[in-house]
């Protein structure tokens, strides 16, 4: 064993892209490996849960955890890592604010199970078998599965988190800078998001092409539109989350002629990224007639998926109330 700082990586409800981004450090990862000791990284090294359990509390310098939290297993693992780590960094959009998995928060657990195990066209399940947390077969042998929670939470809604590295996934540059800061002990105040605190437009290569009086007569969808490769997306009537999203991503999507979808999350001054951009964009709809407004907004058929693509766990409205559920039922559910 060396006395290099110990680092752990872990993934929860995620796509694996965050792991990829770590690998994207390329040769630089060797420099990192020289400076730190990676003690736990299920995707790349063979270390088990019991190895982590054997470590002294607080002995891992920093754990970088990506993915949102949906299952009891994920809860258990992140609590363990929290106990063993000096610092925990929420790595990527899902850990920071729920990410794509949190879009499932629009639906109940039962709806999700029903679609996945019964209604999905590729499913053949005539007996309507659903997974159970525990199952004992005829030989008396029991197996267990992790519990599936009612909602998807961000990492800081489950454990205490020190910093967040935003992005879907975070850029290698931000990761390198974060590790650098940790190694040099130059840490910002707890809770800081490790990216610039100014919105995307600040560094957008198309900034100058946005007019001062932008207003929306219609919204066009990117895949149906021949997009001008140089003009501000909003000025073209294409929803761009840039104004409501932190910069630091090096404008990768915009350079690829696609609008910002908001993965870097809001600035520190905004509590609810989706609500903010909705408030902003709707203020500039160029009509005051309800029918016309409806027609303008029909260009955004999936507002939650558009404006809360990465942040539904952090939405100020914590869930939907199913009006079909009576008050007593919902009180029951709350218990």
């Amino acid at each position: 064993m060396t006395d290099k700082p110990k680092v752990a990586f872990y993934w929860c409800a995620s796509c694996g892209g965050c792991e990829e981004s770590t690998v994207d450090l390329a040769e630089a990862i060797l420099d990192v490996a020289k400076l730190v000791d990676i003690v736990f990284w299920p995707v790349a090294i063979d270390a088990k849960k019991k190895d982590v359990e054997a470590m002294a509390d607080g002995s891992i310098a920093v754990s970088l955890i990506n993915g949102a939290i949906r299952t009891s297993e994920q809860e258990e693992m992140v609590r363990l890592l929290r106990r063993k780590s000096g610092l925990v960094i929420a790595y990527g959009s899902c850990a920071q604010s729920g990410g794509i998995p949190a879009l499932a928060n629009q639906f109940t657990r039962e709806q999700i199970m029903r679609v996945v195990y019964e209604e999905c066209p590729t499913v053949d399940n005539p007996n309507k078998v659903h997974p159970q947390e525990t199952y004992v077969d005829t030989d008396g042998i029991g197996v267990t599965l992790p519990g599936f929670r009612n909602i998807v939470r961000s990492l800081d809604q489950v454990i205490d988190v020190d910093y967040a590295l935003p992005g879907c996934p975070p850029t290698p540059k931000l990761l390198a800078e974060a590790l650098q800061a940790i190694l040099e002990g130059k840490l910002p105040p707890k809770g800081t998001v490790l990216a610039p605190d100014v919105a995307q437009c600040d560094t957008c290569p198309r900034k100058d092409t946005k007019p001062q009086d932008v207003s929306y007569l219609e919204f066009k969808r990117p895949h149906w539109t021949d997009m001008d490769p140089e003009k501000c997306f909003l000025a073209q009537g294409i929803v761009c989350m840039g104004p409501a999203t932190r910069s630091g991503c090096e404008s990768q999507c915009i350079s690829g002629n696609m609008p910002c979808t908001g993965c870097f999350g809001p600035t520190s001054r905004v509590r609810d990224q989706g609500a903010k951009i909705i408030s902003s964009i709707c203020s500039s709809v160029a009509s005051e007639e309800s029918d016309q407004i409806k027609s303008v907004l029909s260009g955004i058929p999936d507002p939650i998926g558009t404006f809360y693509r990465y942040g539904l766990s952090k939405c100020l409205l914590r869930g939907r109330v199913d009006t079909a559920v009576t008050t007593s039922q919902s009180q029951e559910a709350r218990k």
């Binding site: 100014v198 919105a199 437009c201 946005k210 104004p243 809001p266 905004v270 509590r271 203020s283």
Partner: protein, 669 residues
């Protein structure tokens, strides 16, 4: 004085809570004693009291004494609306040495007592609202009002009697006035009238001297045939752009000899005279009426041969020894700086033709609007005051139908306030000039004014007929020989309890008053609001009737709502006094509840720029970020809500303040 600190740390917060009974307005629905007791137990609350009228002197004194003696550093007043009394309680705090913005009001009258029927629930709601305020005031900061100097000039928009009166008052007080009138002459509607009610004095005799005073006054710059295009700036420092349309006559050299009109190649007047409501004809070279101010003619390029064909011997030019005719005159743009603006843009009369076709206007010749009859009875009008029908005959019977375009959801819902009285006046004049039988068809007679009921009584004695009922239709469908060839008014006589058919030779429609067609454009231009009917909205219906929500912009006359000449003149005087009071202070204090942009955080996304209703936000190209002119900002919060990166902050409405309030309202106490 003891140092009260800024109170931002929880430990040194000392809050006083004051619960007002508002007589029984609040106390009848809210258990104010219990509310005060509960408030006393809230965190950091040092004292909580209830009192019958918090806004009274003893009430305010109570707050001031507590600030001094108990060393309070926050004050929460649960009473009526901040619109009414926020300045009162802020003032009380200020007098006791506390920054006025440490005071916060909770509205438990309009938001609670007046809208609930369950005393228990209303009481709990009051407690919840106060708890939220107690938590909110923790985040309040000491704010300072800024002062800026005021430009002493005044812009008056609209030269009817309201604008004339306001302009003369201000000019006589020694301030410079720019009076901008859209038409060729000032005088407005009043100049079209023959007599005024209830005194029957001649409108021209009382108005035209004022009109010429305006023209002569050294402190008045009069621009007729001009419109305000644009207004920038803020209270005390407005910049207005005025567009002066070409009348093709040089106003400075024309002396109003009117010889050019005689000399015009059109020997006879051939074109519709708008000033006489189309009842007469005029030439392309014309003056709206003989006493017009300025006494300057104008050329109508739509009918003038020189403009239409380029070929005219232009005898008008030949005859004008002042060389005042200028076919090349162009539109001119003037920019002026003023400290206050008075809007006196007036009204338009209801147009019955397509909107109420059952009254036959535009279908039958001898149906007139009241304004047309004003011209007919006017000795300076198209018939020199002789009342004749379109075929030249005199009417034997006249029906005056009240409330045309008033008091009806199908047209306008409001009472136009002047129609009953002008109908009485026209009834008197028509009877006097023609000897005809005159019938008034009214819904209710509304004569609330000095000498008005007396005038009505006089008319009753003169033998004018009054039939109470809303007229159903006017047409020429005769069913008796008596009705043959005449107009028949069908009405349910609600006093008699039967339907009448009244044959007459002339019908006068007493059309109501409504906002100008372009009132909405004017509203937008001057950043003020309109009432539901479209008249300009005063800041408070009782306590600020000539002010608007936009500082430095005042209202006079019918643009604010229908009113008669005495009320208009009184209101114009009030608007002049308000404008002078503002200007004479020399400086204007700006409320600090404004928004500002954190320069470090702004990404320059431009989302806010076009949203500001006060054009207070500009984009600094060099720095590629937005900036708010705090002097222009009215604190409406639009940009704050719309800033997608949360980089616009509004004093008194910071996120912490609002979220803490919401969280506490939603908590269970």
């Amino acid at each position: 004085m003891m140092d009260r600190g800024n109170g931002n740390g929880r430990s040194d917060l000392r809050i006083g809570v004051y619960v007002c009974h508002c007589g029984i307005n609040i106390a009848s629905m809210v258990d104010v004693k219990r509310v005060a007791e509960q408030a006393a137990a809230m965190p950091n609350v040092v004292v909580a009291r209830d009192y019958k009228y918090m806004c009274s002197d003893p009430g305010q004194e109570m707050v001031q004494q507590d600030i001094r003696e108990l060393n309070l550093n926050r004050v929460v007043v649960a009473a009526c609306t901040p619109l009414l009394h926020e300045p009162t309680f802020r003032g009380a705090c200020e007098r006791a040495g506390l920054n006025p913005f440490f005071c916060h009001m909770v509205n438990i009258r309009e938001h609670d007592a007046w809208v609930h029927e369950d005393r228990e629930k209303a009481t709990v709601k009051a407690i919840d609202l106060i708890r939220a305020a107690v938590r909110r005031v923790k985040h309040h900061k000491a704010l300072e009002r800024r002062t800026v100097p005021i430009n002493p000039n005044v812009l008056v928009v609209g030269g009817g009697i309201a604008g004339i009166q306001a302009a003369l008052k201000i000019a006589s007080a020694g301030r410079h006035v720019y009076l901008v009138e859209r038409e060729l002459s000032i005088g407005g509607h009043m100049a079209k009238f023959d007599k005024t009610f209830p005194t029957l004095d001649c409108a021209a005799c009382i108005l035209t001297p004022k009109m010429s005073d305006v023209k002569k006054h050294p402190n008045i710059t009069l621009w007729t045939y001009s419109e305000v295009d644009k207004v920038d700036g803020y209270v005390g420092n407005f910049k207005a752009t005025v567009r002066r349309k070409p009348r093709y006559i040089n106003e400075d050299t024309c002396v109003g000899c009117l010889e050019c009109i005689d000399a015009c190649v059109f020997k006879e007047p051939r074109f519709t005279d708008e000033y006489n409501e189309g009842l007469s004809k005029r030439k392309p070279m014309h003056i709206p009426f003989p006493q017009a101010v300025p006494q300057v003619t104008a050329i109508d390029p739509e009918t003038c041969l020189r403009f239409k064909t380029g070929k005219c011997k232009s005898s008008c030019v030949t005859v004008c020894d002042r060389n005042a005719i200028d076919f090349d005159q162009k539109e001119r743009i003037e920019e002026i700086n003023v400290g206050a603006i008075i809007l006196s843009t007036g009204f338009q009369t209801f147009e019955p033709k397509d909107r109420l076709p059952q009254y036959g206007y535009g279908i039958y010749d001898n149906i007139y609007t009241a304004l047309e009859v004003e011209r007919l009875v006017n000795s300076a009008g198209p018939t020199e005051g002789e009342v004749v029908l379109r075929d030249g005959s005199k009417p034997r019977a006249v029906g005056i139908i009240h409330c045309i375009g008033s008091r009806d959801t199908k047209s306008n819902i409001w009472c136009s306030r002047v129609c009953c009285m002008y109908s009485l006046k026209l009834a008197h004049l028509l009877k006097e000039r023609t000897g005809a039988e005159v019938y008034n068809f009214y819904i209710d007679m509304r004569t609330p004014g000095k000498g008005y009921e007396e005038f009505y009584n006089k008319l009753l004695e003169e033998g004018v007929h009054f039939i109470r009922g809303k007229v159903g239709a006017v047409n020429d469908w005769a069913i008796t020989p008596e009705e043959e060839g005449r107009l028949v008014i069908r009405v349910e006589d609600t006093l008699g309890g039967f339907v009448r058919r009244v044959p007459v030779d002339m019908v006068v429609l007493s059309t109501g008053l409504e906002p100008h067609k372009d009132a909405e454009d004017v509203r937008r231009k001057f950043n003020i609001s309109c009432s539901p009917g479209g008249f300009f909205l005063e800041r408070h219906p009782k306590l600020a009737p000539v002010e608007t929500a936009s500082g430095g912009i005042f209202l006079a006359g019918c643009c604010q709502g229908p009113k008669d000449i005495p009320d208009t003149v009184a209101q114009a005087g009030a608007a002049a006094a308000e404008a002078l009071a503002l200007i004479d202070k020399g400086v204007v204090e700006l409320e600090p509840n404004t928004a500002f942009i954190d320069a470090e955080s702004c990404s320059g996304c431009k989302s806010c720029l076009s949203l500001c209703p006060y054009t207070a936000i500009s984009f600094i190209e060099a720095e590629k970020r937005a900036e708010i002119n705090e002097a222009l900002c009215k604190g409406c919060g639009t940009c704050v809500a719309a800033c997608p990166s949360g980089s616009i902050i509004q004093n008194l409405f910071e996120d912490e303040e609002i979220f803490s309030e919401i969280a506490e309202v939603l908590s269970n106490g």
